[in-house]
Point group: C2
Chain length 351, copies 2
Amino acid sequence: MIRLRTPYLLYLGDAQLPTDAKTACGLRDWCASDVVGEWSLASSPLSIGVPRYSPEEAAARGAGSLVIGIASVGGALPTSWMPDLLRALAAGLDIVSGMHTRLTSFPELVEAAARHGVSLHDVRHSDRRFPAATGRRRTGLRVATVGTDCALGKKYTALALTRALTARGANATFRATGQTGIMIAGEGIAIDAVVADFIAGAAETLSPDNAPDHWDVIEGQGSLFHPAYAGVTLGLLHGSQPDAFVLCHDPSRHTIEMYPDAVIPSLADAIAQYTTAARVTNRAAHCVGVSVNSSSLTDDAWAEYAQHHAAALGVPVCDPMRGGVAPIAEALLRLGVGGRSPGATDGSPPA
Amino acid sequence: MIRLRTPYLLYLGDAQLPTDAKTACGLRDWCASDVVGEWSLASSPLSIGVPRYSPEEAAARGAGSLVIGIASVGGALPTSWMPDLLRALAAGLDIVSGMHTRLTSFPELVEAAARHGVSLHDVRHSDRRFPAATGRRRTGLRVATVGTDCALGKKYTALALTRALTARGANATFRATGQTGIMIAGEGIAIDAVVADFIAGAAETLSPDNAPDHWDVIEGQGSLFHPAYAGVTLGLLHGSQPDAFVLCHDPSRHTIEMYPDAVIPSLADAIAQYTTAARVTNRAAHCVGVSVNSSSLTDDAWAEYAQHHAAALGVPVCDPMRGGVAPIAEALLRLGVGGRSPGATDGSPPA
């Protein structure tokens, strides 16, 4: 498991537009208490609205890592960033990157990190080895977010759900499986970077035994219906052994993004397929809600959509950005009170 | 894709029992024309019934590789084998290993291979990078073997089917996805060693565009119902885009081997789940036969089992070791004649 040293100084490099700084904005929004401030090249006009500190100032305020908070063109590391990165290492900060190009592929960074006794974290990659999954049931409660496609709100839904559970006094932990999630949580496993044989084993490692009333909220990846990434999705689902799952969907999509021949099934069919798949490792697994990215719908259309599908599917239908996920969190808390054991033994979902 | 230099000298090390030499026996049985002979330590009483040649003699007879044909305890490399391995490299042979411990982790082997201009192949591992799957349909015909569990005949069935197709004049290629299969085929991809994000992409690479009447017979891995390995199974299935699949089963198993809580579904249910999964990338995909390891059944029980399930499922039910897979091969050849296009476009299986 990757573990990062918080709090963070967010690095914006030479970003020109707020959309370039999606990672930094995600960290600001979801782990504000772990963000000391921002830093950028003098040529960048951008601020995400947090204090501007140099690496030395941030270190003096307790920062543990400089996090590269922007996407660079092609995932490479611009040479213009190098002086700032070396300066951060010299100030005693680790560097955290989600870029394709590994920080560790730059000898000058490796050398400087070693000299200053700090670390380089490439959270998109995984060098750690995991055991094969055992299938052994673990203590504690688990909910996974799954999707009809990639990039439609699985991370956001998991974060919103963790917040909603915590706000209701529940003991809940967001479990990150992708690079931005790992930066937000400060730890996690980039599940798509694991060797294929060990996907489910890595997922078992990610959410270990816990207190009986503790919820792990596991960030899903990919989609069962995705021609390229369904293997990751299924292995993660099996290793997670979720008691419940939330299906994430974007009603404006009818085929998988970039794969026009891959048709997205109906919500009912998608729920049925995820239920069948999840029951390989947890016979109590069932859908506890649908999380919709409704940005393509008018207010009226969204209200009608949510009402129609909630009635048809028998579960709450929410948009975390438009009303929140409280009904799903409350359904989980009802489940946690006493719903698990029967389903776990007789194969039928808790009432 | 791994490509090996045939023919092979099979190395038996210090094996005492024929069961230790499963890999060597598989190569003798499935690619006899690629086997020059065998070699072992003087302390080994074992022969698998092929000529005994030293590495130098084998090289003189045209051998390209020494293949480690036995399983060592714990997957490690016994030091007693080292003189033979160095001798093989000096004789100009590559070395091929399916062991957990990499040949390349021994500096003396790496140094000797470099000095003699030969190669070390660790077929259990994969250092090659693959692209993400595109989902693009490829020309040619494909059949995949899939299973209700691991280790119940998917490789054997694929090899038998390739032989049966070839014997009927068809153009067919066995596509190896595991270590022994790769040794038999002389090439392939150890699909479970690929980084998770690229399982389906690797599978696309494994069976590229081909002639319209050519069959790729793709060795399956794992099982959709396996708590540890289903991710590999699904990614391989999606990238393979099979027109048809053969379900492999062992009727003596009711739960996944070593995972007593994971129940194996009925044949009909297993076929339905594999069909749904395969149609993500090929809407014509359908089950064309069931291949059974019937060793637990008497002749009478097997006859009744095969008849009952063939009638219930509407496809031939065969045991490659007990009567062969001719009916499945013939079903594939009928499919190849004109069955594909309709299903590929309208979503229903060819008749």
